[in-house]
Symmetry: C2
Subunit: 243 residues, 2 copies
Protein backbone atom coordinates (compact mmCIF):
# COMPACT_ATOMS: atom_id res chain seq x y z
CA UNK A 1 0.00 0.00 0.00
CA UNK A 2 1.30 3.42 -0.87
CA UNK A 3 2.37 5.65 1.98
CA UNK A 4 0.26 8.71 2.84
CA UNK A 5 1.34 11.95 1.17
CA UNK A 6 1.75 15.42 2.61
CA UNK A 7 2.39 19.00 1.57
CA UNK A 8 3.53 22.00 3.58
CA UNK A 9 2.67 25.69 3.32
CA UNK A 10 5.23 27.97 5.01
CA UNK A 11 3.73 31.41 5.65
CA UNK A 12 5.66 34.57 6.38
CA UNK A 13 7.14 37.69 4.80
CA UNK A 14 10.27 37.27 6.90
CA UNK A 15 11.16 34.01 5.16
CA UNK A 16 10.77 35.43 1.66
CA UNK A 17 12.70 38.60 2.43
CA UNK A 18 15.64 36.56 3.69
CA UNK A 19 15.42 38.06 7.18
CA UNK A 20 14.69 34.68 8.77
CA UNK A 21 15.96 31.30 7.65
CA UNK A 22 13.12 28.82 7.88
CA UNK A 23 13.87 25.68 9.89
CA UNK A 24 10.35 24.27 10.15
CA UNK A 25 10.32 22.72 6.69
CA UNK A 26 13.48 20.71 7.34
CA UNK A 27 12.19 19.63 10.75
CA UNK A 28 8.83 18.49 9.38
CA UNK A 29 10.49 16.70 6.45
CA UNK A 30 12.55 14.58 8.83
CA UNK A 31 9.65 13.74 11.15
CA UNK A 32 7.37 12.78 8.25
CA UNK A 33 10.01 10.51 6.72
CA UNK A 34 10.38 8.75 10.07
CA UNK A 35 6.61 8.36 10.23
CA UNK A 36 6.35 6.86 6.73
CA UNK A 37 4.58 9.88 5.26
CA UNK A 38 5.89 11.24 1.94
CA UNK A 39 6.33 15.01 1.86
CA UNK A 40 5.75 15.70 -1.84
CA UNK A 41 5.57 19.47 -2.12
CA UNK A 42 6.30 22.64 -0.16
CA UNK A 43 5.21 26.18 -0.89
CA UNK A 44 6.40 29.33 0.84
CA UNK A 45 4.20 32.41 0.61
CA UNK A 46 3.97 35.87 2.15
CA UNK A 47 1.48 37.06 4.77
CA UNK A 48 -0.94 37.71 1.93
CA UNK A 49 -4.58 36.67 1.93
CA UNK A 50 -4.81 35.60 -1.71
CA UNK A 51 -1.55 33.66 -1.61
CA UNK A 52 -2.51 31.75 1.54
CA UNK A 53 -6.05 30.95 0.44
CA UNK A 54 -4.88 29.79 -2.99
CA UNK A 55 -2.07 27.76 -1.42
CA UNK A 56 -4.46 25.87 0.86
CA UNK A 57 -6.97 25.32 -1.94
CA UNK A 58 -4.28 23.99 -4.27
CA UNK A 59 -2.51 21.70 -1.80
CA UNK A 60 -5.14 20.30 0.57
CA UNK A 61 -7.12 18.33 -2.04
CA UNK A 62 -3.97 16.84 -3.63
CA UNK A 63 -2.49 15.30 -0.48
CA UNK A 64 -3.54 13.28 2.55
CA UNK A 65 -2.26 16.03 4.85
CA UNK A 66 -1.38 19.70 4.58
CA UNK A 67 0.76 21.25 7.30
CA UNK A 68 1.05 25.03 7.64
CA UNK A 69 3.47 27.10 9.72
CA UNK A 70 3.29 30.76 10.68
CA UNK A 71 0.81 33.58 10.96
CA UNK A 72 -1.26 32.59 14.00
CA UNK A 73 -0.04 35.20 16.51
CA UNK A 74 -1.78 38.35 17.80
CA UNK A 75 -0.57 40.98 15.32
CA UNK A 76 -2.20 42.45 12.21
CA UNK A 77 -0.04 40.31 9.91
CA UNK A 78 -1.26 37.07 11.51
CA UNK A 79 -4.01 36.13 9.07
CA UNK A 80 -3.49 32.41 8.62
CA UNK A 81 -6.47 31.19 10.67
CA UNK A 82 -8.91 33.42 8.78
CA UNK A 83 -7.41 32.47 5.42
CA UNK A 84 -7.55 28.74 6.15
CA UNK A 85 -11.19 29.11 7.24
CA UNK A 86 -11.95 30.90 3.97
CA UNK A 87 -10.14 28.27 1.91
CA UNK A 88 -12.02 25.46 3.69
CA UNK A 89 -15.35 27.36 3.48
CA UNK A 90 -15.72 27.35 7.26
CA UNK A 91 -16.90 30.20 9.45
CA UNK A 92 -14.46 31.55 12.04
CA UNK A 93 -14.84 33.38 15.33
CA UNK A 94 -13.42 33.46 18.85
CA UNK A 95 -14.14 30.01 20.21
CA UNK A 96 -14.88 29.50 23.91
CA UNK A 97 -12.59 26.47 24.30
CA UNK A 98 -9.60 28.29 22.81
CA UNK A 99 -10.43 31.44 24.76
CA UNK A 100 -10.53 29.47 28.02
CA UNK A 101 -7.08 28.01 27.33
CA UNK A 102 -5.64 31.47 26.68
CA UNK A 103 -7.42 33.06 29.65
CA UNK A 104 -6.08 30.43 32.05
CA UNK A 105 -2.56 30.90 30.67
CA UNK A 106 -2.68 34.70 31.03
CA UNK A 107 -4.25 34.49 34.50
CA UNK A 108 -1.38 32.29 35.65
CA UNK A 109 1.12 34.79 34.30
CA UNK A 110 -0.70 37.93 35.43
CA UNK A 111 -1.00 39.17 31.83
CA UNK A 112 -4.14 41.00 30.73
CA UNK A 113 -6.31 39.54 27.98
CA UNK A 114 -6.94 42.12 25.28
CA UNK A 115 -8.36 42.31 21.79
CA UNK A 116 -5.08 41.39 20.10
CA UNK A 117 -4.56 38.31 22.26
CA UNK A 118 -8.17 37.31 21.73
CA UNK A 119 -7.43 37.03 18.00
CA UNK A 120 -5.46 33.91 18.85
CA UNK A 121 -8.71 32.26 19.98
CA UNK A 122 -10.20 32.64 16.50
CA UNK A 123 -10.68 29.03 15.38
CA UNK A 124 -12.70 27.81 12.38
CA UNK A 125 -15.95 25.98 13.08
CA UNK A 126 -15.45 22.24 13.21
CA UNK A 127 -11.70 22.39 13.81
CA UNK A 128 -9.99 20.46 16.60
CA UNK A 129 -7.35 22.27 18.64
CA UNK A 130 -3.66 21.43 18.56
CA UNK A 131 -2.06 21.85 21.96
CA UNK A 132 0.67 24.46 22.44
CA UNK A 133 2.66 23.44 25.52
CA UNK A 134 4.86 26.53 25.34
CA UNK A 135 2.74 29.65 24.99
CA UNK A 136 -0.81 28.20 25.16
CA UNK A 137 -2.22 29.77 21.95
CA UNK A 138 -3.43 26.65 20.12
CA UNK A 139 -3.06 25.51 16.55
CA UNK A 140 -5.88 23.60 14.92
CA UNK A 141 -6.75 20.85 12.47
CA UNK A 142 -9.61 21.38 10.03
CA UNK A 143 -10.25 18.63 7.51
CA UNK A 144 -6.79 17.45 6.50
CA UNK A 145 -5.13 20.82 7.21
CA UNK A 146 -2.95 21.18 10.31
CA UNK A 147 -2.34 24.84 11.21
CA UNK A 148 0.68 25.51 13.41
CA UNK A 149 2.79 28.33 14.79
CA UNK A 150 5.90 29.59 13.00
CA UNK A 151 8.15 29.86 16.07
CA UNK A 152 10.29 26.72 15.75
CA UNK A 153 10.02 25.49 19.36
CA UNK A 154 6.22 25.73 19.24
CA UNK A 155 5.99 24.32 15.71
CA UNK A 156 8.08 21.31 16.71
CA UNK A 157 6.00 20.64 19.81
CA UNK A 158 2.80 20.82 17.75
CA UNK A 159 4.19 18.46 15.10
CA UNK A 160 5.11 15.94 17.79
CA UNK A 161 1.54 16.12 19.09
CA UNK A 162 -0.09 15.71 15.68
CA UNK A 163 2.08 12.80 14.61
CA UNK A 164 0.82 10.79 17.57
CA UNK A 165 -2.64 10.83 16.01
CA UNK A 166 -1.80 10.37 12.32
CA UNK A 167 -1.33 6.95 10.74
CA UNK A 168 1.81 6.69 8.72
CA UNK A 169 2.74 4.07 6.19
CA UNK A 170 5.61 1.63 6.10
CA UNK A 171 8.69 3.35 7.47
CA UNK A 172 10.95 4.55 4.68
CA UNK A 173 14.30 2.81 4.99
CA UNK A 174 17.49 4.09 3.46
CA UNK A 175 21.08 3.10 2.97
CA UNK A 176 23.78 5.62 2.19
CA UNK A 177 26.88 4.51 0.28
CA UNK A 178 29.90 6.72 -0.10
CA UNK A 179 31.65 6.33 -3.43
CA UNK A 180 34.96 8.08 -3.94
CA UNK A 181 34.52 8.64 -7.63
CA UNK A 182 33.06 11.56 -9.53
CA UNK A 183 29.34 11.40 -10.26
CA UNK A 184 30.10 11.37 -13.97
CA UNK A 185 31.89 8.04 -13.52
CA UNK A 186 29.10 6.28 -11.64
CA UNK A 187 26.08 7.77 -13.41
CA UNK A 188 25.68 5.07 -16.08
CA UNK A 189 25.62 2.09 -13.68
CA UNK A 190 23.50 4.04 -11.21
CA UNK A 191 20.93 4.75 -13.91
CA UNK A 192 20.77 1.03 -14.76
CA UNK A 193 20.17 0.11 -11.12
CA UNK A 194 17.46 2.76 -10.83
CA UNK A 195 15.66 1.16 -13.77
CA UNK A 196 16.16 -2.36 -12.46
CA UNK A 197 14.86 -1.53 -8.97
CA UNK A 198 11.90 0.63 -9.93
CA UNK A 199 10.38 0.51 -6.42
CA UNK A 200 13.46 2.09 -4.90
CA UNK A 201 14.62 5.69 -5.08
CA UNK A 202 18.30 6.32 -5.91
CA UNK A 203 19.64 9.75 -5.05
CA UNK A 204 23.17 10.87 -5.85
CA UNK A 205 24.66 13.73 -3.81
CA UNK A 206 28.05 14.84 -5.01
CA UNK A 207 30.76 16.20 -2.73
CA UNK A 208 34.34 17.34 -3.03
CA UNK A 209 36.88 16.57 -0.33
CA UNK A 210 40.60 17.39 -0.43
CA UNK A 211 40.24 18.15 -4.12
CA UNK A 212 38.74 14.73 -4.90
CA UNK A 213 35.20 14.30 -6.18
CA UNK A 214 32.86 11.73 -4.69
CA UNK A 215 29.17 11.08 -4.17
CA UNK A 216 26.88 9.77 -1.48
CA UNK A 217 24.36 7.49 -3.10
CA UNK A 218 21.23 7.12 -0.99
CA UNK A 219 18.90 4.20 -1.74
CA UNK A 220 15.44 4.64 -0.25
CA UNK A 221 12.40 2.37 -0.11
CA UNK A 222 10.24 0.28 2.17
CA UNK A 223 11.65 -3.18 1.32
CA UNK A 224 14.85 -3.84 3.27
CA UNK A 225 15.71 -6.90 1.19
CA UNK A 226 15.58 -4.94 -2.08
CA UNK A 227 17.64 -2.11 -0.63
CA UNK A 228 20.33 -4.53 0.55
CA UNK A 229 20.41 -6.21 -2.83
CA UNK A 230 20.77 -2.93 -4.73
CA UNK A 231 23.43 -1.68 -2.32
CA UNK A 232 25.42 -4.87 -2.78
CA UNK A 233 25.31 -4.51 -6.57
CA UNK A 234 26.47 -0.91 -6.28
CA UNK A 235 29.39 -1.94 -4.08
CA UNK A 236 30.36 -4.65 -6.55
CA UNK A 237 30.27 -2.13 -9.40
CA UNK A 238 32.59 0.29 -7.63
CA UNK A 239 34.77 -2.22 -5.83
CA UNK A 240 36.80 -1.00 -2.91
CA UNK A 241 35.75 2.60 -3.45
CA UNK A 242 32.33 1.97 -1.98
CA UNK A 243 32.08 1.60 1.75
Amino acid sequence: MANPTAAMLVIGDEILSGRTRDSNMHHLAGRLTEAGINLNEVRMVADDRTAIVEGVRALAPKHDHLFTSGGIGPTHDDITADCVAEAMSASIDVRPDARAILQAHYDRQGIEMNEARLRMARIPEGATLIRNPISAAPGFTIGNVHVMAGIPAIFEAMVAGILLSISGGDPVLSESIRIDRAEGDIAARLGELAEEFADLNFGSYPFRQNGQYGAHVVIRGTDAHQINHAAALLRVAFGDDAS
Copy 2:
Protein backbone atom coordinates in the same frame (compact mmCIF):
# COMPACT_ATOMS: atom_id res chain seq x y z
CA MET B 1 7.23 52.00 -10.00
CA ALA B 2 6.72 48.61 -8.45
CA ASN B 3 9.79 46.44 -7.95
CA PRO B 4 10.26 43.37 -10.14
CA THR B 5 8.91 40.11 -8.69
CA ALA B 6 10.46 36.68 -8.52
CA ALA B 7 9.65 33.11 -7.62
CA MET B 8 11.91 30.15 -6.87
CA LEU B 9 11.57 26.45 -7.60
CA VAL B 10 13.78 24.25 -5.39
CA ILE B 11 14.17 20.80 -6.94
CA GLY B 12 15.36 17.69 -5.13
CA ASP B 13 14.17 14.56 -3.32
CA GLU B 14 16.85 15.07 -0.68
CA ILE B 15 15.25 18.33 0.46
CA LEU B 16 11.76 16.85 0.82
CA SER B 17 12.99 13.72 2.61
CA GLY B 18 14.77 15.84 5.20
CA ARG B 19 18.18 14.41 4.31
CA THR B 20 19.50 17.80 3.22
CA ARG B 21 18.60 21.18 4.63
CA ASP B 22 18.21 23.61 1.76
CA SER B 23 20.25 26.79 2.03
CA ASN B 24 19.78 28.14 -1.48
CA MET B 25 16.36 29.63 -0.84
CA HIS B 26 17.58 31.72 2.08
CA HIS B 27 20.63 32.83 0.12
CA LEU B 28 18.59 33.88 -2.92
CA ALA B 29 16.02 35.65 -0.73
CA GLY B 30 18.73 37.86 0.78
CA ARG B 31 20.40 38.67 -2.53
CA LEU B 32 17.06 39.54 -4.21
CA THR B 33 16.05 41.83 -1.36
CA GLU B 34 19.37 43.66 -1.70
CA ALA B 35 18.76 43.98 -5.44
CA GLY B 36 15.25 45.41 -5.00
CA ILE B 37 13.50 42.33 -6.39
CA ASN B 38 10.57 40.92 -4.42
CA LEU B 39 10.65 37.17 -3.89
CA ASN B 40 6.92 36.40 -3.72
CA GLU B 41 6.70 32.63 -3.77
CA VAL B 42 8.82 29.52 -3.40
CA ARG B 43 7.97 25.94 -4.27
CA MET B 44 9.96 22.85 -3.38
CA VAL B 45 9.36 19.71 -5.44
CA ALA B 46 10.89 16.27 -5.92
CA ASP B 47 12.98 15.08 -8.88
CA ASP B 48 9.72 14.34 -10.65
CA ARG B 49 8.98 15.31 -14.23
CA THR B 50 5.35 16.30 -13.75
CA ALA B 51 6.06 18.31 -10.61
CA ILE B 52 8.91 20.25 -12.21
CA VAL B 53 7.10 20.97 -15.48
CA GLU B 54 3.95 22.09 -13.65
CA GLY B 55 6.01 24.20 -11.24
CA VAL B 56 7.71 26.08 -14.08
CA ARG B 57 4.45 26.53 -15.99
CA ALA B 58 2.69 27.88 -12.90
CA LEU B 59 5.41 30.25 -11.70
CA ALA B 60 7.19 31.63 -14.78
CA PRO B 61 4.18 33.53 -16.22
CA LYS B 62 3.24 35.04 -12.85
CA HIS B 63 6.59 36.68 -12.06
CA ASP B 64 9.30 38.71 -13.73
CA HIS B 65 11.87 36.03 -12.89
CA LEU B 66 11.85 32.37 -11.91
CA PHE B 67 14.99 30.91 -10.35
CA THR B 68 15.45 27.14 -10.06
CA SER B 69 18.03 25.15 -8.08
CA GLY B 70 19.00 21.52 -8.38
CA GLY B 71 18.84 18.65 -10.83
CA ILE B 72 21.38 19.65 -13.49
CA GLY B 73 24.13 17.10 -12.75
CA PRO B 74 25.10 13.94 -14.68
CA THR B 75 22.98 11.28 -12.95
CA HIS B 76 19.62 9.73 -13.88
CA ASP B 77 17.76 11.87 -11.34
CA ASP B 78 19.03 15.12 -12.91
CA ILE B 79 16.08 15.96 -15.13
CA THR B 80 15.65 19.70 -14.59
CA ALA B 81 17.03 20.89 -17.94
CA ASP B 82 14.74 18.58 -19.92
CA CYS B 83 11.73 19.51 -17.77
CA VAL B 84 12.34 23.25 -18.13
CA ALA B 85 12.67 22.82 -21.90
CA GLU B 86 9.35 20.96 -21.97
CA ALA B 87 7.65 23.60 -19.82
CA MET B 88 8.95 26.39 -22.07
CA SER B 89 8.10 24.43 -25.26
CA ALA B 90 11.74 24.48 -26.38
CA SER B 91 13.70 21.65 -27.94
CA ILE B 92 16.76 20.41 -26.06
CA ASP B 93 19.94 18.62 -27.06
CA VAL B 94 23.68 18.62 -26.38
CA ARG B 95 24.80 22.09 -27.43
CA PRO B 96 28.24 22.65 -28.92
CA ASP B 97 29.03 25.73 -26.78
CA ALA B 98 28.22 23.93 -23.53
CA ARG B 99 30.02 20.81 -24.68
CA ALA B 100 33.15 22.82 -25.47
CA ILE B 101 33.15 24.34 -21.97
CA LEU B 102 32.88 20.89 -20.37
CA GLN B 103 35.46 19.31 -22.69
CA ALA B 104 38.01 22.02 -21.92
CA HIS B 105 37.40 21.59 -18.18
CA TYR B 106 37.80 17.80 -18.31
CA ASP B 107 40.86 18.03 -20.56
CA ARG B 108 42.54 20.30 -18.03
CA GLN B 109 41.77 17.83 -15.25
CA GLY B 110 42.57 14.67 -17.22
CA ILE B 111 39.02 13.38 -16.78
CA GLU B 112 37.32 11.46 -19.60
CA MET B 113 34.18 12.84 -21.18
CA ASN B 114 31.45 10.19 -21.18
CA GLU B 115 27.75 9.91 -21.88
CA ALA B 116 26.74 10.87 -18.34
CA ARG B 117 28.90 14.01 -18.32
CA LEU B 118 27.63 14.92 -21.76
CA ARG B 119 24.12 15.17 -20.27
CA MET B 120 25.30 18.35 -18.57
CA ALA B 121 25.72 19.93 -22.01
CA ARG B 122 22.01 19.48 -22.76
CA ILE B 123 20.75 23.05 -23.08
CA PRO B 124 17.38 24.19 -24.45
CA GLU B 125 17.35 25.96 -27.80
CA GLY B 126 17.50 29.72 -27.39
CA ALA B 127 18.87 29.64 -23.84
CA THR B 128 21.90 31.66 -22.77
CA LEU B 129 24.48 29.94 -20.57
CA ILE B 130 25.13 30.84 -16.94
CA ARG B 131 28.79 30.50 -16.08
CA ASN B 132 29.85 27.96 -13.44
CA PRO B 133 33.25 29.08 -12.14
CA ILE B 134 33.59 26.03 -9.90
CA SER B 135 32.88 22.85 -11.86
CA ALA B 136 32.29 24.24 -15.38
CA ALA B 137 28.90 22.59 -16.09
CA PRO B 138 26.81 25.65 -16.95
CA GLY B 139 23.36 26.73 -15.89
CA PHE B 140 21.15 28.57 -18.36
CA THR B 141 18.52 31.25 -18.75
CA ILE B 142 15.56 30.63 -21.04
CA GLY B 143 12.90 33.32 -21.22
CA ASN B 144 12.60 34.54 -17.64
CA VAL B 145 13.70 31.23 -16.10
CA HIS B 146 17.18 30.96 -14.59
CA VAL B 147 18.27 27.33 -14.10
CA MET B 148 21.05 26.77 -11.59
CA ALA B 149 22.88 24.00 -9.75
CA GLY B 150 21.80 22.78 -6.33
CA ILE B 151 25.25 22.61 -4.74
CA PRO B 152 25.32 25.78 -2.65
CA ALA B 153 28.75 27.08 -3.65
CA ILE B 154 27.88 26.75 -7.34
CA PHE B 155 24.35 28.10 -6.87
CA GLU B 156 25.68 31.16 -5.08
CA ALA B 157 28.29 31.85 -7.76
CA MET B 158 25.63 31.57 -10.46
CA VAL B 159 23.26 33.91 -8.61
CA ALA B 160 26.03 36.49 -8.31
CA GLY B 161 26.57 36.27 -12.06
CA ILE B 162 22.91 36.60 -12.95
CA LEU B 163 22.24 39.53 -10.67
CA LEU B 164 24.84 41.56 -12.54
CA SER B 165 22.61 41.43 -15.62
CA ILE B 166 19.15 41.84 -14.05
CA SER B 167 17.62 45.21 -13.35
CA GLY B 168 16.28 45.51 -9.87
CA GLY B 169 13.91 48.11 -8.50
CA ASP B 170 14.34 50.57 -5.70
CA PRO B 171 16.36 48.91 -2.96
CA VAL B 172 14.12 47.70 -0.16
CA LEU B 173 15.07 49.50 3.04
CA SER B 174 14.23 48.27 6.49
CA GLU B 175 14.45 49.34 10.09
CA SER B 176 14.29 46.86 12.93
CA ILE B 177 13.04 48.00 16.33
CA ARG B 178 13.33 45.84 19.40
CA ILE B 179 10.41 46.22 21.79
CA ASP B 180 10.64 44.54 25.18
CA ARG B 181 6.93 43.91 25.49
CA ALA B 182 4.83 40.93 24.51
CA GLU B 183 3.36 41.02 21.02
CA GLY B 184 -0.13 41.02 22.50
CA ASP B 185 0.62 44.40 24.11
CA ILE B 186 1.85 46.11 20.97
CA ALA B 187 -0.45 44.53 18.40
CA ALA B 188 -3.21 47.17 18.51
CA ARG B 189 -0.93 50.18 17.90
CA LEU B 190 1.09 48.25 15.35
CA GLY B 191 -2.07 47.43 13.42
CA GLU B 192 -3.01 51.13 13.34
CA LEU B 193 0.41 52.10 12.01
CA ALA B 194 0.20 49.39 9.33
CA GLU B 195 -3.08 50.91 8.15
CA GLU B 196 -1.77 54.46 8.31
CA PHE B 197 1.41 53.64 6.35
CA ALA B 198 -0.09 51.41 3.67
CA ASP B 199 3.04 51.55 1.47
CA LEU B 200 5.18 50.06 4.22
CA ASN B 201 5.31 46.48 5.44
CA PHE B 202 5.27 45.92 9.22
CA GLY B 203 6.45 42.52 10.42
CA SER B 204 6.41 41.48 14.06
CA TYR B 205 8.76 38.68 15.14
CA PRO B 206 8.29 37.62 18.73
CA PHE B 207 11.10 36.34 20.94
CA ARG B 208 11.57 35.26 24.51
CA GLN B 209 14.72 36.13 26.43
CA ASN B 210 15.40 35.34 30.08
CA GLY B 211 11.73 34.52 30.52
CA GLN B 212 10.59 37.91 29.17
CA TYR B 213 8.60 38.28 25.95
CA GLY B 214 9.55 40.82 23.31
CA ALA B 215 9.26 41.41 19.60
CA HIS B 216 11.41 42.70 16.79
CA VAL B 217 9.26 44.92 14.60
CA VAL B 218 10.67 45.26 11.10
CA ILE B 219 9.42 48.11 8.93
CA ARG B 220 10.19 47.62 5.23
CA GLY B 221 9.65 49.82 2.21
CA THR B 222 11.40 51.91 -0.41
CA ASP B 223 10.79 55.38 1.09
CA ALA B 224 13.35 56.14 3.82
CA HIS B 225 11.40 59.18 5.04
CA GLN B 226 8.22 57.16 5.59
CA ILE B 227 10.13 54.40 7.37
CA ASN B 228 11.78 56.90 9.71
CA HIS B 229 8.45 58.53 10.45
CA ALA B 230 6.74 55.23 11.25
CA ALA B 231 9.66 54.07 13.37
CA ALA B 232 9.54 57.30 15.37
CA LEU B 233 5.83 56.87 16.05
CA LEU B 234 6.43 53.31 17.17
CA ARG B 235 9.16 54.42 19.56
CA VAL B 236 6.89 57.12 20.97
CA ALA B 237 4.14 54.55 21.53
CA PHE B 238 6.38 52.22 23.45
CA GLY B 239 8.58 54.78 25.15
CA ASP B 240 11.87 53.66 26.57
CA ASP B 241 11.18 50.04 25.74
CA ALA B 242 11.90 50.60 22.07
CA SER B 243 15.48 50.98 21.04
